[in-house]
Structure formats: C-alpha cells, structure tokens
C-alpha cells in the first residue's frame, strides 16, 4: 500500500502500475493480481479480455509521454482510471496529454499522474486535469506528504485558463481598467 493524493486528500492506495520489462510481449505478459494499471500496449493488445476488469474498476491504463491519448478515445467510458507516466518530472508531455484527455476527449474518470511526481508540480498537474497524484514510492514521508498538500494553494488566481478553470482571469473576474 502506498499513499497517493486524490482530490487534495491523502489516501491509502493498492493499485499496481505494471511496467513491461524489455522484450516482454504486451499480448502475453503476466499481470499481477489485484488492481493494476497496465501500459497502453497491453490494453490495446488485450482489450477484449481485459474489458470486464476495466469496467469493474480493477484495471486502468497508463500512457507514456510518446503516446497519443486519442488511442483511448473509444474506451473512455469503460475506463475508470487512466494514468499518465512522468519518466522525469521535467518531462512535460504529460501536462498536454492530460489536457487533451479532459478538454478534448471529455474523459471524466480518475486521471492519475504516476512516475516522478513531485510536490512542486502538484499545482500544475491539478490545473491540467489530474485528480490523483502518485509520487514515487518512498519519495515523501507521510509527514512530508501532509505538508505537501499546501502546494495546491501556491497560486490563488492564475492568469490563464486550464482544465480546472477553463476561463482565464479576465473572464473570471472584472479586473479594473486603470484610472
């Protein structure tokens, strides 16, 4: 069990992110028991077989930064969890992928950031539509994670629109015209 942050609250979590070893075949790779988040390749290769598990809420799919979320366009209603992998926290593709999943494809289930997820990204990740944030195992002590929740409030009124608040500041509030 690890701790994740969901909708701004710390939760115990029992999902396992499945990563294929080099040379492992997506069609045949063995999946661990319990709730699993499988690579897109596994999902695409075994959609029929895994569909029921997805619908039952025990199987999710994760996307790499190189993968187009449009590949899941037909599955969005079946999937209750989609994760986006941050191989490095400074690799920002996941922000655009999340934005596309939410704003373009209308995905409404859990959208989870996995991989190198740091508290200093929480604010940006949330703005781009992630509602679940899963720092690498052991990255934060329970105490540090609690303090990390403050990061969500780094900026009260950001300028531009994003997934969380689509309207930019100039549409949200009447900013005064200078005297």
């Amino acid at each position: 069990m690890s701790e994740i942050i969901k909708n701004g609250v710390i939760h115990e979590d029992d999902w396992t992110v499945v990563r294929l070893a080099d040379g492992e075949d997506a069609a045949t790779a063995e999946l661990p028991a319990g709730r699993v988040i499988v690579p897109l390749a596994v999902w695409l290769a075994r959609r029929e077989a895994l569909g029921a598990q997805a619908e039952a809420g025990v199987l999710g799919v994760w996307l790499a930064g190189t993968e187009d979320p449009a590949a899941l366009a037909d599955d969005l209603l079946r999937l209750q969890l989609i994760a986006v992998d941050f191989p490095k926290f400074a690799d920002g593709r996941g922000y655009s992928i999340a934005t596309l999943l939410r704003a373009r494809h209308g995905y409404g289930g859990e959208l989870r950031a996995v991989g190198e997820v740091l508290r200093d990204q929480f604010f940006f990740l949330t703005r781009c539509g992630f509602d679940a944030l899963q720092p690498a195992a052991g990255r934060y002590t329970p105490e540090q994670l609690k303090i990390a929740l403050e990061s969500f409030r780094d900026f009260a009124e950001p300028y531009q629109g994003a997934v969380d608040r689509a309207e930019p500041l100039f549409r949200r509030l009447a900013r005064k015209v200078a005297a």
Binding site: G65, F89, A90, D91, G92, R93, Y95, S96, I97, T99, R104, L118, D120, F123, F124, L125, R127, C128, Q144, D154, F155, A156, E157, P158, Y159, Q160, G161, A162, A166, E167, P168, L169, F170, R171, L173, R175, K176, V177, A178
Partner: protein
C-alpha cells in the same frame, strides 16, 4: 507603463513564498539537486562559474524609476555593486548568495518585479521594441500585447516543462527592432486589408548551435485568437519536440524536420479545437491592458526647440552625442535618448549601483519616470523634451552614460562570456574591450558609421553573434580560447545570418582582424553605404582575402 493590480501583485507575492519554501527544502536536503535545478532556473537562478547568477525579468524592457532604484539597491546590498543588462532586456546579478535570493525576490516584489521564467524550459520573458509607443514608424503599440502574452504565459501549467526554452518577441513598427525572425515565435502586429488588427506569426527562428530564420506560419491571426493560436503552437511543440537531445530540442528543429507546411497543418488542426474557446481575447481585456500604455501627458511643443538647436551649434561634444544617442520621436518637441552602457573598458551592458540611481534620477527629471532596456544592452529615456536634452546629456555624462557611440563600432553586444558564464568556451568582455580600445578615435568611429559587432563566448549565442555585421564566436581548441569571425549577419527587417570567413583567431589578433575588416569596407564602400551593405554588395571574398593577408604579413613581421 503597466501597473500591477491586486491579482498581479498577489501572483508575484505567492511566487516569493513558493520559492522561499523550495529553497529552504533544498537547503534542508529535502529537495535534491536535480529536483531543485529546474525550479530555480524557472526563477532565473543559475549556479555559475563563481557564484549563483540571478536573472531578473524586465518584461519587454520596461522599467519605472523606482524599479531601477531597487536594482541599484540590490546591486549594492547583495552583489558587488553592479549588474548586467542582457540581450534579452533582462538584468543579471553575478554574485548573489543563494540563501539571499528569496529575500532579493521579496524586495523586488515590493516594486512589481520578479524573476519568473527568465530561464528554464518554459515560455521566457517576452521581449519587444525598446522604442514602443514613441517610434515614428510604429503602426501598432506592441506593449499591451506583450503584457497580455506575459500574463498568459506566466505559470502556464501546460507549458512549464517544455522540451527547451521558448522565446516570444513582439514588434509593431515598420522596422523590426525586436529581432522577431530569430525567436521561437515572432509576432508582427499589423492591420489587414479591412483595417483589423492581428498578427503575422513567425515560428522556428533562433540562434544558438543551429541558427535558423523563422518562417511564416500565418500571415494574419486576428487579435482575438492570438493566445489560442500560440497555445496550439506550444501544444504541438510540447508533444512532439525532441527530448532525447537538448541540442535538438528547440522548436526550430521540429519545424525544420517536419517542414513548415506539415507543422502548420498540425497547428491548424489543434487551433481548430481552441478557436473561439475561453482563451479568446475580449475587447474589454485588451482595453484594460492598453489603458496602462496611453501616452504620457506630453506638452504641445514646436517641432524643433530653438534652444536645443543653438546648443547643438555651440557645443561639439553635445552635437556628437546628439547625433548618435538621440532619436526622433513621434511627438513634436520630444526625442528619445539612448544611454550608452558601452563605455570603452566596461563590460557591455554593465552598470553600477550609482549609475542605476543616476538613471532613475534622469528618468524622473526628464522622461516621466520611465526607462527602457534595449537588446543591444543600452538604456533608453523614451520621452525627453528637446529643451531638456542638454541637461539630460550633462546628467548622463556625469554618470558615465553619455558615450556617443550608439550604433557605432564600439557599441558592441557581448554576453558575459568566460569571465562569468559556466557554459562559455571563451571570454567575451576582454575581446570587446580590446576592440573598443583600438577604435578609440571618435572621429574615425563616426566616419566608419553604423556597424554592429556581436560577441558570444559560446555557441549558445547569447551575444547574438550570428546577426552581427561582424560576429565573433568564442571556441575552445585544445583547451585554448579562439575566436571565429563571421560577417554579413544582420538584425531587423533584413535579418540574415553571418558567414564564417575562415580559420579562427587568437584573442590578441581580434583588434587587428576588425581593423582589416573595417579597412576593406572603407576601401570598397560607396558613399553613405553601411558596412553590411558593402558586404552584401561585394560579397565576403575581399574581406576574407584582406583579413588573412594582413594576418600573414603580421606573422612575417614577427619572424
């Protein structure tokens, strides 16, 4: 000039608190070196050769006198009494203590300043024409649009971790003074046939290791759509830009790899989803921002001030200064003054705390309390009455800021180079100083006329050497510093990239090399022809031949 409202101020204050916390966590060991690095870079904080370097944002080069005084205060209190204006219109401090940076930022925030996005792989501080709002050739004032882009890009959550840095420049005059052709996105404000305002958009320009001139992606994006259009470009870049090799990660490489037409198709497909969405600008917002940039309360004056004309006739030194450092103004009876930060022997762009105070005083006395920074690393008092020019000159002279060399050979653009920068292969400042020392005769300097020398200490090209009429690039050969020379580069409407003339030179050869180039020019030039125009007309060959022949002769003389 733009004044923060409570929302702008709050964001900057919140940034100070955020960065203070991040720095504390770093110092406490909770945030690793690799984790802290991108965070501090997005706040302009480098770890440099000798100390941290802090790059403070001067959005589109606009400063108020109180902000200039604050920069002076910081130079005095936290640095070694001086700072450095960069080719991106920002200010750099080279010797702050890392522990002091949160406090420096807190003090900057009291005068509506910050270091947001002055570095790192994000949308950088937007740049523009230092003569915006006052230039006679201006069609549309770029400043409100710069401010709108600044706000949109500040902490943009989707584009905070791009493949590489991303630079946007805006120009609104007939003459491009923002070098938009060598930016990741260049925005050229214009009116279409129906008189509607919009932007010609260039993409994929940039200097550095692979210098490329930007290509037109759209001939006209209506102003309402400009943020959505930029968002589309940024999204295509974020998702498709290379991340495997930092040297190939800029948008210019992506645009080149795909070709502009394929890149445009992707952007247009993305834009189709965003058009008319919430990012669409409203007239209210544009008016709100534009109201910060209304003309100051100009007096109604005759086009030409009799006193000024008399002083020009009576004082040769003043006339020489006025000829180079004073620019025509759209408003009758006014002028713009360029304060030279290119006094021979000083690092180009360097300014002391006392000089910063003097600049603030001059701005208060003569220019509605405002100052501009140019990408040539000089300062501008944009709105000076002609009748005040003599007094402004005396004040500038007292402060050592009245070198009459704007646009001349000693007005050299140079990065800080190996004296400060950890990236540099070679020094820049001593080369600039040696060239300035060689050309110390003012009459000769004026006779040579307009010529731009740009010096970079490495191929990251902070000194914009590719677009210098004479470009100098520091290179490392077996642990020794050498200098590669190019000619034919230019900025502005006819932006071009210089071509290397041949094998590189030792540092002590550089003044001779420039002398040879200048001599070739003066021998070949037609009346009133600038160096760059002669190079374009006769080609590089006579210059090459002369430079290397002179070099051979010098060698023989030493044998």
């Amino acid at each position: 000039m733009y004044q923060y409202d409570e929302y702008d101020q709050r964001i900057v204050d919140e940034r100070v608190a955020q960065f203070r916390d991040q720095t504390q966590r770093y110092l406490a060991g909770e945030l690793g070196e690799d984790e802290y690095r991108p965070l501090r870079l997005q706040n302009g904080l480098y770890i440099q050769r000798y100390a941290p370097m802090l790059r403070i944002a001067v959005p589109y080069g606009n400063l108020r006198a109180e902000q200039v005084r604050m920069l002076g205060h910081i130079a005095r209190t936290y640095d070694r009494g001086y700072g450095h204006f960069t080719t991106r219109q920002n200010m750099q401090f080279n010797w702050p203590k890392l522990e002091d940076v949160p406090e420096i930022l807190a003090q900057l925030a009291t005068v509506q300043m910050h270091a947001i996005q002055t570095s790192g792989n994000c949308i950088r501080n937007v740049t523009s024409d230092p003569f915006a709002g006052v230039a006679a050739d201006e069609e549309i004032d770029p400043r409100p649009w710069c401010e709108i882009v600044r706000q949109w890009s500040t902490f943009h959550p989707e584009f905070a971790f791009l493949p590489r840095k991303f630079k946007i420049a805006v120009n609104g005059a007939k003459e491009d003074r923002a070098v938009i052709q060598v930016h990741d996105i260049g925005l050229d404000l214009k009116r279409n046939a129906e008189g509607k305002i919009g932007f010609r958009v260039l993409v994929g320009g940039g200097l550095g290791r692979t210098p490329i001139i930007g290509e037109e992606i759209s001939s006209f994006v209506p102003w309402q759509d400009i943020l959505s259009y930029c968002e589309a470009i940024l999204r295509v870049y974020n998702l498709n830009g290379r991340r495997d090799n930092a040297y190939k990660a800029r948008i210019k490489i992506l645009v080149k790899a795909l070709g502009i037409d394929a890149f445009r198709s992707q952007v247009e497909a993305e834009f189709a989803h965003l058009k008319d969405g919430p990012a669409t600008l409203t007239a209210e917002e544009v008016h709100r921002v534009a109201d910060h940039f209304v003309d100051p309360s100009y007096e109604t004056l005759p086009a030409s001030d009799a006193g000024y004309t008399a002083q020009l006739a009576a004082n040769k030194a003043f006339a020489a200064w006025a000829r180079r450092n004073v620019r025509a103004h759209k408003q009758p009876g006014y002028a713009s003054v360029v304060l030279s930060l290119k006094k021979p022997g000083i690092a180009p762009g360097d300014i002391t705390a006392d000089q910063l105070d003097s600049v603030a005083a001059l701005a208060d006395a003569f220019s509605f309390g405002e100052v501009r920074v140019t990408h040539e690393q000089n300062l501008v008092l944009a709105d000076v009455r002609q009748s005040d020019l003599f007094a402004a000159w005396e004040g500038a002279r007292k402060a050592g800021l009245a070198t009459p060399n704007i646009g001349l050979l000693t007005d050299i653009i140079a990065c800080p180079g190996g004296d400060f920068c950890a990236l540099a292969n070679a020094k820049s400042i001593p080369i600039a100083n040696a060239i300035q020392a060689r050309f110390d005769d003012l009459d000769y300097l004026h006779d040579i006329g307009e010529i731009e020398i740009n010096i970079s200490g490495c191929m990251n090209a902070c000194g914009h050497h590719h677009v210098g009429h004479i470009g100098v690039l520091g290179v490392d050969k077996n642990g020794q510093e050498w200098y590669q020379v190019s000619i034919g580069g230019d900025q502005g409407n006819d932006t071009s990239l210089g071509k290397v003339i041949g094998p590189s030179f030792a540092a002590d050869e550089m003044p001779d090399v420039v002398s040879s180039l200048v001599q070739t020019y003066t021998t070949n030039r037609h009346d009133d022809e600038r160096f760059i125009d002669t190079v374009r007309r006769v080609g590089a060959e006579p210059f090459k031949t002369q430079v290397y022949a002179d070099r051979e002769e010098r060698k023989q003389a030493h044998v």
